[in-house]
Symmetry: C2
Subunit: 191 residues, 2 copies
């Protein structure tokens, strides 16, 4: 998606350890017009798939997922991160390691809001190792639902998570796919 690539080139900052800082429009300050344009593009890609639920994990995917849910006209459920190991009976739960924060969270979602009738689109801001999408997929599977696919704003292809999940059969659409990053350059993959 040209608009997003241009924005990354203009405002993104590469940090040590393979971190791309896009706090100015995606992770901390949100540009709602860009979020809306991304949601429209995701609708173009997945609009024929009878999706009836949008699923993301708190927090930084929520803004984009809200716009996607609005454009698709279906509910959004955001999975919560819990630090407690005591999981209630009425939730689906799985562990998700965080690449950015170097820790592991328990991801929980109420059984009431995710079920076997759901055809789910997974949404996140970033795709790197793929751990978040794997966790979200597990929760949908526990609930007996169907993962139609995933859409992410930015895929760091060089970290391999996206292609591993594609090889395992998940449809993934990335609005910007970064093939390589150095301190002073960002190269996008051909799409």
């Amino acid at each position: 998606m040209k608009l997003l690539e241009e924005r990354i080139l203009k405002e993104g900052e590469v940090r040590p350890g393979g971190i791309l800082k896009v706090d100015g429009f995606l992770n901390h300050r949100i540009d709602p017009a860009l979020s809306y344009a991304m949601a429209e593009e995701i609708k173009r890609l997945y609009g024929q798939e009878d999706i009836n639920k949008i699923l993301t994990i708190e927090s930084s995917g929520i803004a984009l997922a809200t716009m996607v849910a609005w454009v698709f006209g279906c509910p959004l459920v955001f999975v919560k991160k819990s630090r407690t190991k005591n999981i209630a009976q009425d939730v689906w739960a799985t562990e998700i390691p965080s690449f950015t924060h170097g820790n592991t969270n328990t991801a929980v979602v109420s059984k009431e809001y995710l079920g076997s009738e759901d055809r789910v689109l997974l949404i996140d801001d970033f795709l790197a190792t793929g751990a978040a999408l794997v966790g979200l997929q597990k929760l949908v599977q526990m609930a007996g639902g169907t993962v139609v696919g995933a859409a992410v704003a930015i895929e760091k292809e060089f970290q391999g998570g996206g292609n591993a999940l594609r090889a395992a059969g998940m449809r993934i659409e990335s609005l910007a796919k970064i093939a390589a990053m150095t301190d002073d350059s960002i190269r996008f993959a051909e799409q």
Copy 2:
């Protein structure tokens, strides 16, 4: 706001300790059409105020705040909760106690995204003790900006935070204001 009050009566559950569970449309599963309608109502209330920034705190206010930013056509900044006491130089930070979780978080926002030129509308899903709004107000004041006011989906008026802040001069608009709750009834305040 009639639509929201009806939804609360239909789907809200009162839990021990003054907790109102509205996970079905506001805190865990989001109804984007309701969020949009709430954002339109907030625009009607604050549309004349030259607001140029929407501020909320992660995570459960982000969905509503995203819609508000979209309707106002201005950026949203979401303040992050940090568990570390080591605060970087480039952020404004303050402590915010959580009523729901019984702990205290450090709320941080990048200095880059909140400044003296900002006329800020604070957004949150709930207003109970007012601790979150006080924290957000402090961050705006540290940055030298102006808090135009706050808009929340649900105010639990009986917990007093909203009226204390109004007495101190903050404009607060609540889309639903609960005067009293018991295990089997919810009474709204006259608006």
